[in-house]
Amino acid sequence: MSNKNKWLDYLLNIDRKVVYVIIFLSVALPFFLNPVVDIQPTKWVSAVYDEMEEAARTNKPIIIGFDYDPSTLAELDPMAKALLRHAFSRNIKVLGLNFIANGTSLAATTMDDVAKEFGKEYGKDYVFFPYLPQYDLVLLNFGDNFRKSYTQEFRGQPLENIPMLSNLQNYDDFHMVIDLSGTKLPTIYIMYGVTRYHFKFVTGCTAVSATEYFPYLQSGQMIGLITGMKGAAEYESLLKTKLNLPTGDGMRGMASQTWGHLVIIIFIVIGNILYYVRRRMNMEIK
């Protein structure tokens, strides 16, 4: 009786560091295995893919809001790269916006890297606008004419020198707006943009805030949603199967994602079993 009790006590009050090592290994080891290959894209990710194809067909540029900072980089940067690869491979012009100060350099670097892959030229095929505060007002004025808020692009040239922007004025000249963010910004885009100007709006969000966007999907205020690293992996698998573009970090992390999730599920189950065994034993002693 007593050594079983001793084992239970040891396991229930196991040192946190043991748990830390287990989760670290469960994420690190799978990188040495071959990556996961097939993932079934969900409805809302395919919707984003189809809408991007529609943008290619109508030859209208798109807006991507890079509203994330290093803290949510791991989930949203693979998504940004996948969307940019899709846009550039289909010769869709991209306008980058940013309302998170700490993420400004991140967005600029990501756009330049992917543009280099496809030989796209800054100012002609893609352009990045600087960070501005008071994003609600900027989003509102964007519906009238974005020159009211922005006088220069990120590298400091006035907007008149940018060939891509010559006949663009507001949301109507863009096929859709995609906002990548882990913050409340997608809701702000809807409140200050979609409600007044009714453009097509897609969100790429961190998995933490995914559930709160589904009412907007059901009401049609939002037409697509990419959720976390798995969403990025789904989009990459779509790009792979349909356009034969190489997969990125989203897919690369899926093996570790699998092991990590299984470890957490096992922890929850075992933790509860031990807890209830312990309680029943206490009942018997009393």
Partner: protein, 212 residues
């Protein structure tokens, strides 16, 4: 008293009423006035960002000069890094390829990204040691969570196609009902908050001024 309370109240009330009616009145008169006001607000917003900067510099300067504080030298390090980064940025500019950008990629990204990745360890240890099935609600929550987790990974799809389907159904139906009710509750809350601020009923926004 007039300058401290009444003038700010006049500002908030007038801009508040104007922006409320701007929502309903698209006429050019309102639009031009709005463009002017929002351009000013963006500039003031730029100034507001320095409030955070100054409060941090004051806090760390106080710790750096406080003899008894064990982290004195660390606080000095923060001040030095702050000055260095500002000077480098103002000299080299912020475009990709500048030293400013290299410091961002080399130091800010790893620190901030790793700081938040610690949460994976905390959720693992919490999963084992504190997520207990103590009530029916917690049970329902953990059941729905495990379905979601399984559906996130290919293992879920291999076990049975019902899992991804169930995940889709949970997200598109019960979740929409619950989140929609929460959304409506929060919306009413934010209307009440905005109303109390504009009408000057709630003055706690102005609390904490005077450099304490």
């Amino acid at each position: 008293m007039f300058f401290k309370k009444t003038v700010p109240f006049i500002f908030t009330l007038s801009v508040g009423i104007f922006s409320f009616f701007y929502y309903f009145m698209p006429h050019a008169f309102m639009q031009d006035l709005w463009d002017k006001a929002s351009q000013w607000a963006i500039i003031i917003g730029g100034g507001a960002m320095f409030v955070g900067v100054i409060s941090m510099v004051r806090a760390y300067y106080k710790r750096a000069t406080n003899k008894s504080d064990p982290n004195r030298y660390f606080a000095m390090l923060t001040i030095v890094c702050f000055i260095a980064m500002t000077v480098i940025g103002l000299i080299t500019g912020i475009k990709p390829g500048s030293l400013f950008n290299d410091i961002f990629v080399g130091i800010m990204i790893p620190c901030e990204a790793t700081m938040f990745s610690l949460l994976a360890f905390y959720i693992a240890s919490a999963a084992f040691r504190s997520f207990r099935l103590k009530s029916f609600s917690a049970g329902l929550l953990l059941f729905s969570a495990i379905i979601l987790m399984l559906a996130q990974i290919p293992t879920g799809e291999n076990i049975s196609p019902a899992i991804p389907w169930l995940k889709g159904w949970i997200l598109d139906y019960p979740n929409v009902a619950a989140q929609r009710a929460i959304l409506i509750g929060i919306a009413i809350g934010s209307v009440a908050t905005a109303l109390k601020i504009i009408l000057g009923i709630d003055k706690s926004i102005y609390a904490g001024v005077g450099g304490k």
